[in-house]
């Protein structure tokens, strides 16, 4: 049998999806099903004075209307899952439905339940809510200012959290040879998976069990939280995420809508469906980033770095979302030194409430912001001392021999050869040649720019005791059962919950290689709290590094037991039996053998088992990773900026990523493409825009610039492989590499192109207008 791990196999999950046989949440249709629609606040900040639902209730087909008052004592507010340790956290939870005040435009005020979705929409318009508008605050720095409106009356200065890590004496900066300082704004972006959120809930009065199908990246977390919110024991709440159309972090968060739909189904004893409309998604599904980051890097004229200090003022929105507090603190803070040997580092984060949609994880969660600030400041440092940015990187990248490397932020990077990966990327683009070309083109008035980022990020959280120490309300281990049926076919259960990553294929590859059976004999079961005993879901690129590791260990346990049974049948000792390519053989007597399928049958029939061996063949693992994993890479972007219009043409994009051992290079490359596209999207086009009174101006696909196919060049993706020592697969995580590596590579490229204009920094997104204005003002001042 061919090697499975490392093979670019096409996906097992595709046939159903490309023939229209997938089953997404909105595809679920149950007898007697009702349809829910939410009434949402048009104001960013207002007192609710009265709600009149009579008109709606009079509409034929309307079954019920719920307001915040109706849910008091029945549905609790949805709590955060990350009480960041040592951050003076003032956690504010989002009520199921707003009771007396709304704090962002789009906050749920009431739920209508009707016989179909059209009637439900009609009824929403018939509900009259009387508001008293209050002044709103949108920007985090304005919210911190003296006299700013308070989002929550008892949270002074709107300061939700203050977190500090590391220390650097002032002299490191006052006495340094070189200090560069920059304020960077990592703008607010909206995850926008193409499938919006949604929930279908069904209550079974016989078993007193509530089932919620919803668009979830982590159904077990959702069960844990919604059980608490709804006051139902976990044993009587089943959460199922069927096929899920992307998440990118936005479907990790626990939300009020899903819980309220669950309540309505239980209350009405009829199934209820709610599918988020795109405009609701823009208003109500978590946003991300929105961090004002001030960074100061100290170093020497020869190019070496000596200290860094960073201040992050993060906009958390109106409430503390699921992982909302963790992203700008732990996720961000631990990574501020990037891929470099910077001996001293300090970070402080201010988390601020504003009258905007809550922010939470989005592909990378904190790490893209960390990579952006360090990769931008490294370029500015290089410019300051007049050195090539690649040379500065080479001087400071953590050397290969230094791994595992402990950073100034106190984390241990697992493995890497940063220089080699950078070298490969430079070779692919022909860096030297490009620099010469850039010189020539400048003479002709053409503005070519070359941008490099040598990012590193943190994935696959672990171990769970660390999660506990940082205030994360749960474990970060992962569960898998590998169950062998009498025929030798295998069901693999995983606690991760894929939503487009191709996990059914990668995990099957791992099991096929371990058990020596055809990949088609393996099915993956995930996303259902009733089938899978426990799990923590899919986020932070933990799928393979943690979930896949559990699968590998469970499969090894199957092999170990099968070997005992095979040895017994072959009348040999287990040490004399070898297993390869699906066959157990007595060493030295290969004709004495049993296939895996034969052992599967005998294990399940149990007619002739060795003493003390239990029937059936099943392996289980609860893998708690001993450490995080740290994917890294070198991304190089080449752009040309049009001097007349400010338009940016992406000429080349090279991504050399190291995600440890690659299980399926085809799927890994797909992840890189998608991540890079989202990263370039943030750099050049995407951005949530609010008016001063808290109206989301970029609230549809007509106003929010989602990346389209013709915007991109071919992404040249390669991998280097430095396996991680922290899990048995050596895998690190690939999902976030692109969103982490791309923004600084692109912005560095544009800034490089704009150097002749004396422009040092512009905030993302680098729209043509912004670039043109910057060039124009230099021209006018020249």
């Amino acid at each position: 049998m061919a090697k499975m791990i490392g093979a670019p196999l096409k996906r097992k999950e595709d046939p159903k999806l490309i023939t229209g046989n997938g089953r997404f949440t909105d595809d679920i249709k149950l007898p007697g099903m009702l349809y829910g629609a939410f009434v949402r606040s048009p104001h960013a900040h207002a007192r609710i004075k009265a709600i009149d639902a009579d008109g709606a209730l009079a509409l034929p087909g309307v079954v019920a209307v719920y307001t915040g008052q109706d849910l008091i004592g029945k549905v609790k507010a949805v709590p955060t899952m990350w009480y960041v340790t040592g951050a003076n956290l003032k956690a504010k939870d989002r009520s199921a439905l707003a009771v007396d005040k709304v704090r962002y435009a789009g906050e749920c005020v009431a739920l209508v339940v009707a016989e179909n979705r059209y009637i439900a929409r009609d009824a929403v318009d018939l509900i009259e809510v009387e508001y008293e508008e209050l002044s709103a605050v949108v920007h985090q720095e304005a919210a911190l200012a003296e006299g700013a409106p308070l989002v929550h009356d008892d949270v002074e200065n709107n300061l939700a959290l203050l977190w500090k890590a590391g220390e650097v004496p002032d002299e490191e900066f006052t006495e340094a040879e070189v200090v560069v300082k920059q304020r960077l704004y990592n703008q607010r972006v909206i995850p926008n998976p193409i499938e919006t959120r949604g929930a279908v809930a069904q209550y079974n009065p016989g078993s007193d069990e509530l089932t919620i199908w919803c668009t979830s990246q982590n159904p077990h977390i959702h069960r844990m939280v919604y059980a608490d919110v709804l006051g139902i024991p976990e044993t009587r709440l089943r959460v199922v995420s069927p096929d899920v159309g992307g998440g990118f972090g936005s479907k990790i968060a626990t939300y009020n809508e899903e819980a309220v739909i669950g309540h309505a189904a239980r209350d009405l004893k009829r199934p209820v469906k709610w599918i988020e409309e795109r405009k609701e998604h823009f208003m109500a599904t978590t946003h991300a980033r929105d961090e004002v980051i001030e960074v100061e890097l100290a170093g020497k004229r020869d190019g070496t770095f000596t200290a860094i200090r960073v201040k992050n003022t993060a906009n958390l929105g109106a409430y503390l979302s699921t992982f909302g507090g963790g992203c700008p603190t732990i996720d961000f803070g631990l990574m501020v030194t990037g891929a470099y040997t910077i001996p001293k580092a300090a970070v402080v984060t201010y988390g601020v409430y504003t009258n905007t949609t809550p922010t939470d994880a989005y592909r990378g969660a904190g790490k893209p912001e960390a990579a952006y600030q360090i990769e931008r400041i490294v370029d500015l440092f290089a410019q300051e001392i007049g050195m090539d940015p690649v040379e500065v990187r080479r001087k400071n990248l953590i050397p290969h021999e230094a791994f595992p490397y402990s950073t100034a932020m106190g984390v241990a990077y697992d493995s890497g050869n940063y220089q080699d990966t950078l070298g490969q990327a430079l070779e692919i683009v022909d860096y030297e040649g490009l620099r010469k070309q850039q010189e020539r083109l400048r003479q002709e008035g053409k503005w070519l720019g070359i941008g490099v980022s040598t990012y590193v990020e943190l994935c696959g959280f672990g171990p769970s005791k660390v999660a506990g120490a940082i205030g994360f309300m749960g474990g970060v281990w992962e569960n898998s059962t590998v169950r062998v049926h009498p025929s030798g076919k295998v069901s693999v259960f995983t606690g991760t919950s894929p939503h487009g990553q191709g996990t059914a294929t990668t995990f099957a590859q791992v099991v096929a290689e371990k058990l020596g059976i055809p990949i088609d004999d393996i099915e993956l079961i995930s996303g259902d709290t009733r089938s899978v005993s426990m799990g923590w879901g899919t986020y932070g690129s933990r799928n393979t590094a943690v979930g896949g590791a559990a699968v590998a260990i469970a499969a090894d346990r199957v092999v170990a037991k099968a070997k005992t049974i095979a040895a017994h049948e072959l009348e040999a000792s287990a040490t004399d039996v070898e297993f390869s390519e699906g066959v157990f053989r007595v060493i030295g007597a290969p004709e004495r053998s049993r296939t895996f399928q034969e052992i599967a049958k005998s294990a399940n029939f149990a007619w002739n088992l060795p003493d003390g061996v239990e029937p059936a063949l099943e392996g289980q693992s609860f893998f708690d990773p001993p450490n995080f994993v740290y994917p890294f890479g070198a991304h190089i972007c080449v752009v040309e900026v049009d001097g007349q219009t400010g338009e940016i043409e992406l000429k080349r994009y090279v991504a050399v990523d190291d995600v440890g051992r690659v299980i399926n290079p085809l799927l890994a490359e797909g992840q890189v493409h998608g991540g890079v596209a989202q990263g370039i999207g943030q750099a050049l086009w995407e951005g949530a825009v609010y008016s001063d009174n808290g109206q989301l101006l970029s609230g549809t696909f007509m106003d929010y610039a989602m990346p389209k196919a013709r915007f991109f060049p071919t992404i040249e993706s390669r991998f280097t492989e430095n396996p991680s020592p922290v899990n048995p697969l050596g895998a690190k995580g690939v999902g976030e590499t692109g969103t982490t590596g791309a923004p600084p590579a692109v912005v560095n490229a544009v800034m490089d192109a704009l150097r002749p204009f004396g422009i040092k920094d512009l905030d993302m997104p680098l729209t043509p207008e912004k670039v043109w204005r910057a060039m124009q003002s230099r021209r006018e001042n020249a």
Binding site: K10, R11, E13, D14, P15, K16, L17, I18, T19, G20, N21, G22, R23, F24, D26, D27, K29, L59, N116, Y118, N192, P193, I194, E195, T196, D243, V244, G245, G246, F248, I275, E277, R278, K279, H499, G500, Q501, G502, L666, L667, E669, G670, V672, H673, G674, G675, V676, A677, Q678, T700, F701, M702, M706, K708, A709, R710, F712, T714, I715, G738
Partner: protein, 174 residues
Amino acid sequence: MVTVTKHISVTVNGALRQAEVEPRLLLAHFLRDVLDLTGTHIGCDTSQCGACTVMVNGEAVKSCTMLAVQADGAAVTTVEGLGQMDAMHPIQQGFWEKHGLQCGFCTPGVMMAMVGLLKENPDPSEEEIRDGLEGVICRCTGYQFIVSAVQHAAKLIREAEETKQAMANAGEGR
């Protein structure tokens, strides 16, 4: 309130389907909710994402921008009618072979749009495919493997055409 309904007959994937529908019912909801053809997806409310694209009388149309009553008398093809598990359409083969999807939510609509493109241009360049994808949004794939998938599908269709042609010629020669 009296709900006015209208009787419509639509040929969907080759079969005649009839229903009483409200005039405001979108074609997308008619296909999904009335006919239970859930392969066609809805991703936006502003006709931007293309997830709902189907063929109406041989042309790619966003089914969220059309009313079911407007499809009265028309022939509609949805993803279910393109090809099934055991007999896939070349575009489906292309997407499978070349990893043209991740979550698969946009995919039915994207494939329909590309079937439309290939009808007009059987041998599109990368640039033409990227232009042809203007009406759809895929958040997962970065589009690169969608481009490869469409090129692969185009090749499969051309090869099938050539074989058909060769067989027809051979037939004439006899």
